[in-house]
Structure formats: C-alpha cells, structure tokens
C-alpha cells in the first residue's frame, strides 16, 4: 500500500513541477513571441551573478522572483480573509485540473504497470469541467474583496464571461465524449491510436474539426485570454479584478493565467491531437504503414510518448500566445453575443450532427 501511495505522490509531484515550469515557459513565450511578432527583441536584460547566458531560465525565474519579493499591500476597508483567499481560490482549481490529464501510456516498472495519469477517474472529463467551474470563484472574490467599484465590475463581468463560455466548452467536450463513447481521458487517448485507412492516425481533430475550433475559442474565452481579456484589460483597466493585489497574491493571479494556458493546451492535445500518441508508435515500436517495423525498448517508447505530449502542449501554448498578439480585444457586448448567440447554437448543432452521424453509422 505504501508503494502505491509513493507512486501516486511521485506522479503528482512530477505533474506539479512540470506544470509550474510550463507556466514559466509560457510567460517567456508571451514576451518573446510578442516581441518577434512586433519586430523587436523583447526581454533580454537578465543575468544571474553576471552570467547572462541562459536567457530562458533567467527570464522564467525573474518574473516570479520579482513579484514574490514585493510588498504585500492590502487596501483599507477590505475583508482581509477574502483578500487573502481570493488568489488561493483562483490558483487551486487550475493546478488540480491537470490531475486527470494522461501524459503517457502504461509504464511497466518493477513488476507493476503504472498508469501515467495522476488520478485515473472514470469521469475525468467531468472532473476537469468541475475544476473549470470552480475557477469562477477566484474572479468573483478578487473583484469583491478589493473594496473598489471598478474591480467589482471587472470581477462580475469576468465571471459572467466565464460561465457563458463554460457552456460552449462543455458542449464541444460532449461532442468528443459522444465520438469516443467514454468520459475517461486515458481511454480517449488510447482510442486515437488506431489508423484510418491504414495510414492516417485517428486523431480527434479529424473526427470533430468544428468541436476543435469551438473548444479553442471557448477555452481562450474561459481563461480570459486575448482577444477576450476585457475583465483584465491591461491597457485600459490596469488589471481589472486583480488591481488591488500585490506581491505574492499578484504572482498567484499571474501564474494562474499561464497555468490555464497549459490546461487548455493539455485538453486540446488530449482530446483532439492524440495526447501522448506518436503516429505509428505502438507499445513495442514503430509500425510504419508500408510494413516497416522498428522495435524499441519499453522505456524508450514511454519516453517518446511523454516527450510527444510535452511538445504538443508547448505547441498549443505557443498557438494561444500567437492568437493573443494577433487579434484586437473585443468589446463586452460583442463577447457575450459571440458566446450566447454564436458558439452555443453552433456547438448544439455540432452535438446534434454528431448524434445523427453516430446513429447512421451504427445502422
């Protein structure tokens, strides 16, 4: 029993470490991608004890260190408990959401088969939706606990935006659940391993391209990333619902933004792009379509799968940064109109069409 607890602890620790590192990497992407898109160099003034070489590591650590060492200023008249609680409530669900995302196939080590997924839930998709619903509280509390009219408005607008786009997100996930017939993410990823017509990997995006676009849009709106970042509005509202937070509290809000990027990227890869699947890689090696097989040791296969998962997550994080710096911010009424009058009917129609196709296929 202790061995199992130890294995679960190692898996959880590994996921937490990688997610925090990914958050730092996406923070660095934000600066560098925006810089190169705007034809400038970006942040490169960073050195540790005179050693300016490893720019990536310096820039990843510089932001968090800067915020962590600033003064924690609490404005007058706030409810202190809520002011301290809001960043924690914002931070907790997005970290925990990563527990249901599988990052590899089964690892055979020491006579045990370890499922490379922190918590093997058979309602994994619903668990992630639950954590996304809980992240609304951080915004609401951040706005309320600030004792500031404009923060409150920003908080209420932000949470209204989040609950509107949760619907479109949930319905696009429902279409994927219908296609694969399961709520368990590991089963969904395994089902994307077989080949269509003998050569095309059966990734989710080929079955549900519309659901992919809907989920990408709804995911970016849910996590309040540009072009949907009116509640945060850096150039207009300073920081919206988290104006009155400084120091470590601001760091938690800031990190949550990038961890949410990682969560949306993780979900996109898991449901639509095969998760940890490498094309043509089975448990014992490569099986290319023309009959060419390359046998590989088990540990190398597992390592390849984990690396493939990480690469796909980083790619989708980069894609989200790219979209952020391309599109202008949309107005609040346009945003709500897009959510309720645009994405929701389209995702409903997608679910209906999926149901019709599945029934026709079975007939």
């Amino acid at each position: 029993m202790w061995v199992e607890i130890g294995i679960a602890a190692i898996k959880t620790g590994a996921i937490l470490g990688v997610v925090m590192a990914l958050a730092g990497v996406f923070g660095w992407f934000e600066r560098k991608v925006s810089a190169y898109m705007q034809d400038r160099v970006g942040a490169n003034r960073c050195s540790v004890f005179g050693f300016a070489g490893a720019g990536l590591i310096n820039t990843i650590m510089a932001d968090p260190l800067k915020f962590a060492t600033k003064e924690d200023f609490v404005p007058a008249g706030v409810d202190r408990l809520l002011h301290t609680l809001a960043p924690c409530v914002n931070f907790f669900p997005v970290l925990v959401a990563f527990a249901a995302i599988p990052f590899g196939d089964v690892l055979e080590a020491g006579g045990r088969s370890i499922n490379l997924q922190a918590v093997p839930l058979n309602v994994g998709v619903l668990y992630i939706l639950a954590m996304v619903s809980l992240s609304v509280y951080g915004v609401v509390l951040g706005g309320w606990a600030s004792n500031n009219r404009f923060s409150l408005l920003g908080g209420i607008r932000g949470s209204a935006q989040m609950i509107s786009y949760e619907l479109a997100m949930g319905l696009s996930i429902v279409a994927m659940v219908m296609t694969y017939g399961t709520l368990d993410l590991q089963t969904m990823v395994r089902a994307q391993g077989h080949l269509i017509g003998g050569w095309l990997p059966a990734w989710g995006v080929l079955y549900q391209p519309l659901a992919f676009l809907l989920f990408l849009t709804a995911g970016m709106a849910e996590t309040k990333r540009s072009p949907f970042d009116l509640p945060e509005g850096e150039s207009e509202l300073v920081a919206g619902y988290f104006i009155e937070f400084s120091g470590v509290k601001y760091l938690m809000f800031f990190m949550t933004d990038f961890i949410e990027v990682a969560v949306v990227a993780g979900l996109l890869t898991t449901m639509f792009f095969g998760g940890w699947q490498v094309p043509y890689l089975m448990r014992d090696g490569f099986h290319f379509p023309l009959g060419v097989t390359v046998a590989l040791p088990h540990l190398l296969v597992v390592a390849l799968q984990i690396v493939s998962f990480l690469l796909k997550v980083v790619f989708f994080g980069w894609l989200q940064c790219l979209i952020r710096w391309t599109l202008p911010r949309i107005r609040y009424d346009q945003l709500m109109g897009l959510g309720w009058k645009g994405l929701l009917p389209v995702s409903l129609a997608n679910v209906l069409a999926t149901a019709v196709v599945i029934l026709a296929w079975q007939a």
Partner: protein, 173 residues
C-alpha cells in the same frame, strides 16, 4: 470507507454548515456553502457515486452558488447589524430544532429493512460492482425507468428560465 475518515468529514461538514447559518456576512455564508458542497462531493466520492460528485461540483458549487454571489454583489449586501432574529425567536427555534433532531435520530438509528426481493448481499460493507455510480449505469437508469421525469424536468428548467428572465427584467419606462 474508514470510520476515522468519515468522522473527520462529518465534523468538517457540520462546522461549515454552522458557518453558513451563523456568519453575519452574506458573502462569507455563500463561501461556507461552497466549502460544504465541496465536502459533500468528497463524501459522495467515498460512497462510490462518482458522477453525482462531479455533478455536485459542476452544478451546485460551480453555478448555483455563483448565482447567489452575483445577486449578493449586485445588491451590494454588506454585513447587517441585526443578522439574527429576536432572542425569543432564537430560543424557540433552538428548542424546536433540538426536538426535531432527536425525533429524526430516534427513527434513523435502526437501518431500513431490506425488502424480500432485494438480494441478500447488500449493505455498506459489501463491495459494489466496478461501474456502480458511473455515468453509463446512471444514464441507463435515467433514460429507461425515469424517462418521463427527465422530460418533465427539462420543461421545468425551461419554465424557470423564462420566469427568471421575466421577473428580473427592468420594465422599460
């Protein structure tokens, strides 16, 4: 489920429910309700009800209490000076509440009798099948045996949406 774990959860549940009822600030009451709902979802998970636990967090904690918080914030309700009723009302409520609780407990201490048609191997100690409480089994039960209730509930939700929109709309002067 281990008794010690149950006792810890029970104590936390009772404390958070008391916080809901006794906190003078409405926002803190709502947040205590979120904690209560989350603990309840954990209890459901330990009772092999995985889908219901997930739905509890998504629907109850993630939507209903958010709606409560919205209304509290929109009406800008601060802490009120007279949060509780008069002392006489409080005393009467406490006495009646305790009597009610004692009556409930007296009837609940003996477990319900299993009907003759139920299988002999039921009870908390006997393990359930692997898919008990999963979405597939619940859906099968819901869409065959309880189909009429399901359809009527969807009409009920439609009525509630229309009612809420009509009631909360500002009259155009």
């Amino acid at each position: 489920m281990h008794p010690v774990l149950f006792l810890i959860l029970a104590a936390l549940l009772i404390v958070s429910a008391l916080c809901v009822v006794l906190q003078p600030s409405p926002v803190r009451s709502a947040l205590s309700l979120v904690v209560t709902l989350f603990l309840m979802a954990v209890t459901f998970l330990l009772l092999d009800a995985q889908l219901v636990a997930a739905l509890q967090v998504v629907v109850y904690a993630g939507a209903i209490v958010v709606l409560f918080l919205f209304v509290i914030m929109l009406l800008n309700l601060r802490d009120e000076p007279r949060a509780l009723a008069r002392l006489g009302t409080q005393a009467t409520a406490l006495v009646l509440g305790s009597l009610f609780l004692l009556a409930l407990i007296r009837f609940l201490v003996t477990p319900p009798k299993l009907s003759a048609s139920a299988s002999a191997a039921t009870g908390m100690a006997t393990p359930v099948s692997a898919d008990f409480g999963s979405a597939q089994v619940l859906a099968e039960r819901l869409f065959t045996h309880y189909l009429l209730a399901f359809e009527v509930t969807s009409v009920l939700l439609l009525v509630a949406i229309i009612g809420a929109v009509v009631l909360a709309k500002r009259k155009l002067v």
